[in-house]
């Protein structure tokens, strides 16, 4: 253990004696006591006697540097005495005056105007990157359509399996619950008017036109959009994307096109699956309200038109492009470090959901005017 004793005043000199092991585990109280003793003698020379110090590691050296570096009046300097030669060599590596001031800050935060300017520029750069990426991705997709052999179909299938087939259980669960909740909540109100049968219309239309594509897209954003961003982001951090570029291979063709094609192919299928399962959930609730299954089926078939179904599926294709595109873009924008990958994944999900909802709103207006 480290020990500290305040030495009796010797003429004009004050001081303290350290003994034992000066290491990080035993210095806690000693360090503070030594600083207090030093502060208590501001105008006399101060001697730190280390002749009984048995061991002094980096923490002990740091304490001595701290004592030596304390600003004192002229003629009241701190002196270390009796420190063993080896420890002395460790101490000599540091200039105590250098550590008086705190380390330099990395960068001044700047004025409010400067920060606003930076933020505005950041938004502009982000938009520019988005437009550039959309252009690149569309060009690459057009190239893929012109020359299908240039597409890495094996990658497309792997992504389709991961984003599509493996997502079936969660899509089924959410779709079923959506159908059940929608039917149950509306049926309770409609029962008061004897209009339970119209619950089938509501569930059919809502799932086909809106909730099926929307919920599936949000699930895809949370599941696959984040995965795309994290996967490509990790490749960026590990210089794999740079390696592709220096091999003369287009990262967009290699990484983005397979994911977008897979998402575009899988989204309508997942969406149709969600609609079907949602309708089954609604049918189950209808049994509780004594509406026969066949009656429910006829009501849905009569009310939901093909254009409702295709409108929903078209939306899901667009959502698929958005989710995959944003996921890949955020992945490619990843900077360095593990935290940057996390930020990219988060950003992919948030941007994806915002875009999905915004575009869904636009679709609602457009479909209204087109009478779809």
């Amino acid at each position: 253990m480290a020990e500290l004793t305040i030495t009796p005043p010797d003429g004009a000199t004050r001081g303290l004696a350290l003994a034992g092991r000066l290491d990080a585990h035993s210095l806690g109280p000693v360090w503070a006591d030594a600083k207090r003793a030093l502060a208590g003698s501001p105008d006399r020379p101060f001697v730190v006697d280390c002749s009984r110090v048995e061991y002094c590691d980096g923490a002990g050296i740091a304490m001595l540097v701290d004592l030596l570096g304390t600003e004192r009046r002229p003629g009241a300097e701190v002196r270390i005495e009796g420190l063993r030669e080896g420890f002395g060599r460790l101490l000599e590596q540091f200039d105590p005056a250098e550590f008086r001031a705190p380390p330099p800050p990395r960068e001044a935060p700047g004025s409010v105007v400067e920060r606003l300017g930076r933020a505005g520029r950041g938004v502009w750069v982000g938009l520019y990157a988005l437009v550039a990426f959309v252009g690149e991705a569309l060009t690459a997709l057009a190239g893929a359509l012109r020359r299908p052999s240039s597409v890495r179909w094996r990658d497309v299938l792997l992504v389709a399996e991961e984003a599509g087939v493996n997502a079936l259980p969660i899509v089924a669960l959410i779709g079923f619950l959506m159908g059940v909740i929608l039917a149950f909540q509306s049926a309770i109100s409609m029962r008061q008017f004897g209009a339970e049968i119209f619950v089938a219309d509501l569930v059919g239309l809502a799932m086909t036109r809106e909730l099926g594509p929307l919920m599936t897209a949000i699930l895809l954003a949370g599941r696959s959009g984040a995965a795309f961003a994290a996967e490509i982001g990790t490749m960026k951090v590990n210089d794999e994307v740079n390696a592709l570029e220096t091999m003369g291979l287009d990262p967009v063709r290699f990484l983005v096109v397979p994911r977008m094609l897979a998402a575009v192919a899988m989204m309508p299928l997942l969406s149709a699956f969600a609609v079907l399962i949602g309708l089954l959930g609604g049918a189950m609730v209808m049994q509780l309200f004594e509406i026969p299954l066949y009656t429910y089926y006829l009501q849905v078939v009569n009310r939901v038109q093909l254009n409702d179904l295709f409108g929903g599926l078209f939306k899901s294709v667009v959502f698929g492009v958005l989710v995959a595109g944003v996921g890949c873009l955020r992945g490619l924008q990843t900077r360095t470090g593990a935290s940057a990958v996390g930020l990219s994944a988060t950003s992919a999900v948030v941007s994806g959901i915002v875009l999905i909802v915004a575009v869904d709103g636009i679709f609602a207006v457009v479909f209204y005017y087109l009478d779809i």
Binding site: A24, G28, W31, D57, G58, A59, I61, A62, D66, G337
Partner: protein
């Protein structure tokens, strides 16, 4: 510093004992029947070509991988079977610098180095900050305290990782390829720092390296691993191994580097 001057630097107290270690992943055996001791206060080198199992061996010693057979004792305690407090007690005695640095990307350099001090000591925050600054100064990173690892070059990240490994002045320091990525001047200064820590504080240093210049400067003893042998092909003083070993792999390893050193000597003169 010549190796002769350092003979007897350690007092023959075994701090690491590796007994009949077998390292295997699924059906692939990397190392088998590896046995050696590391003594208190020595700088112990693990040499070998790429893929010879140097890093795998170190990861078994520090308890990241469980041996397929045999055991590793650190200060008499079995690393693989230690649990809870006993395992923590072992881990507090060691510091590890990983090959790629492994700094925490969401923390500044100062925070990275301060972390073990904050977790394991009762020192006040300003004392912790000063210790961390001294460690960063030791590796030449003063002025970069508030930088994030991602803002630094690979070599600088490595130096910061060394500072973090030394934060608690551990009893045993493991360095995985410390000099790769460092410029020659910094690498030489780092060698001197390692030597000083080992000689003055009695820290035991286990260093995995390809760098022969560094090996001859700092290592008291080395073992050499070889891929085909799946284990140790030579053990001893690196100077003696270079001069006297009959093993062709050892001679090839040392002499090829020596020829390259001679070839570059006139240019550097």
């Amino acid at each position: 510093m010549s190796n002769a001057n350092r003979s007897g630097a350690h007092d023959e107290e075994v701090v690491i004992r590796v007994e009949g270690l077998k390292a295997a992943f699924d059906d692939r055996t990397i190392l088998e029947n590896v046995t050696f001791d590391v003594f208190q206060g020595e700088v112990f080198g693990i040499l070998g070509g790429s893929g010879s199992g140097k890093t795998v061996l170190v990861r078994h010693i520090i308890g990241l991988y469980e041996p397929a057979a045999g055991r590793v004792l650190i200060e008499g305690r079995d690393v693989a079977t230690a649990q809870g407090e006993e395992r923590l007690a072992i881990l507090r005695r060691i510091g590890v610098m990983y090959q790629l640095g492994a700094l925490f990307g969401s923390m500044t350099l100062l925070e990275n180095v301060s972390l073990p001090l904050e977790e394991y000591t009762a020192l006040p925050p300003d004392a912790i900050e000063l210790i961390a600054r001294l460690k960063l100064k030791l590796v030449g990173l003063e002025g970069f305290e508030h930088h994030m690892p991602s803002e630094l070059s690979g070599g600088m990240q490595k130096r910061a990782a060394i500072a973090r490994a030394m934060a608690l002045d551990p009893a045993i320091l493991f360095l995985d390829e410390p000099s790769s990525g460092l410029d020659p001047v910094t690498a030489a200064a780092f060698d001197q720092t390692v030597l000083r820590l080992a000689r003055v504080l009695g820290i035991t240093v286990v260093v995995v390296t390809h760098d022969l210049a560094s090996t001859f400067t700092i290592c008291d003893r080395v073992i050499m691993l070889h891929k085909e042998a799946r284990g140790i092909i030579a053990e001893g003083d690196p100077h003696e191994l270079r001069e006297k070993s009959d093993n062709p792999h050892v001679r090839h390893f040392f002499n090829r580097e020596a020829e390259e050193e001679r070839a570059t000597e006139p240019a550097g003169a």
